[in-house]
Symmetry: C2
Subunit: 231 residues, 2 copies
Amino acid sequence: MSSPETASRRALNRDRVLRAAVALADDVGIEALSMRTLAERLGVVPMALYKHVANKEQLLDGMVEVIVAEIEPPAAGADWKDAVRQRILAARRSLLRHRWASQVIESRTHASPVVLDHMESLIATFRAGGFSIDLTHHVMHALGTRMWGFTQEVFPTPAPPADPDARAAMFEQFAARYPRIIEMATAGAHEEESTVGGGCDDQFEFEFALDLLLDGFERLHEQGWTSFRAG
Amino acid sequence: MSSPETASRRALNRDRVLRAAVALADDVGIEALSMRTLAERLGVVPMALYKHVANKEQLLDGMVEVIVAEIEPPAAGADWKDAVRQRILAARRSLLRHRWASQVIESRTHASPVVLDHMESLIATFRAGGFSIDLTHHVMHALGTRMWGFTQEVFPTPAPPADPDARAAMFEQFAARYPRIIEMATAGAHEEESTVGGGCDDQFEFEFALDLLLDGFERLHEQGWTSFRAG
DNA sequence: ACCTGAACACCGTTCAAGT
DNA sequence: ACCTGAACACCGTTCAAGT
């Protein structure tokens, strides 16, 4: 016991800071991740972190790097459509392991090398598949954040009252004003009829839209589409 | 001068609070909008706001309401495809007037009535066009935040150094590692070759992806697609 | 070279008090 | 009924100082 240092206090470096930040965000959520809570978990004073990341923005940049580096590369030998599909679904698997990640990726203003690697790889796949530079450009835009395996779903639900009578009354009022939403929400929900929009299969919806886009890309590619003719 | 009150201090109410918040966010950006800065602009102490909105989350909810209420309804008599397209592009025009709006919409956990009205209207349009409940459901998911006229573009650029020599060196290094990104970025940019990905026409890219999806929807609809057969 | 302690200028929100 | 003032428990980040 010549030193009070534990393993968690030794050898603080950028990598250890980033991994601890990812683990902390996984545990307590991104909104509870602060320079102070992170320092506490590392057994260190807040200012010690600033020797390894310039500020909180750089910390978040680094956290994205860690996650994107986890994306498995697609199997070799697939055609462009399969390769793109596989890479995007692999990104999705990585991102789904960290529920806060999509929000952080969307908030980044600068790309780190791993992020650019992912984009470069997708572009190269389209080009290898014979896509023109022009079509590749628009197709990458059309993917948008979907290239990371996520898109923001916009089906927020009003908070249901705890009291059953009040809940029933609210449902009736809701159904009167929004009959189409109710019709759609209840048609798909087999187990949970109480929550509007509940019971959706996110993975299915993601692949539905992705395949719709990929099929559209294929069609334009086969037709020799250019923005000059269309725009 | 019997009273020191100015027009800006009289008759504080929810509507005036929300409109002031929207104007303030337009002026100084959403990150500089705080309960304190908003109170100051209204000539009032921070706590005065809490009589009109329960907390900051509710303030943001209300700001979304104000903006969504501005969306022009589509002209009557259009077919489903035109009506959906028009409504989404109208939403885009409203959202573009407030550059912070997309970020705030994505962060909402509860839908306000005006938000539900917009969704109800889109769903009703698909149904009136003969779409099955099933297909309508998936199609709404595929639109995602695009139903609000925006999608997050993911083409962040590394910050270019101020020094011209350093910038040239960085560009060369970048081009060596990311040749496809450079190829694509420079092909489309006519005026600004210095910034990677600069010179993109966001409106064109938005409509490109939207039309690709709408064409896909149309094709599935004509084929009588159901998730039971496909899934 | 790396970590610390105290301080600064902010937040959102509470509570009890004023008018 | 509506607004105020002071306080609480947080933030990210600075600076000068320690080892």
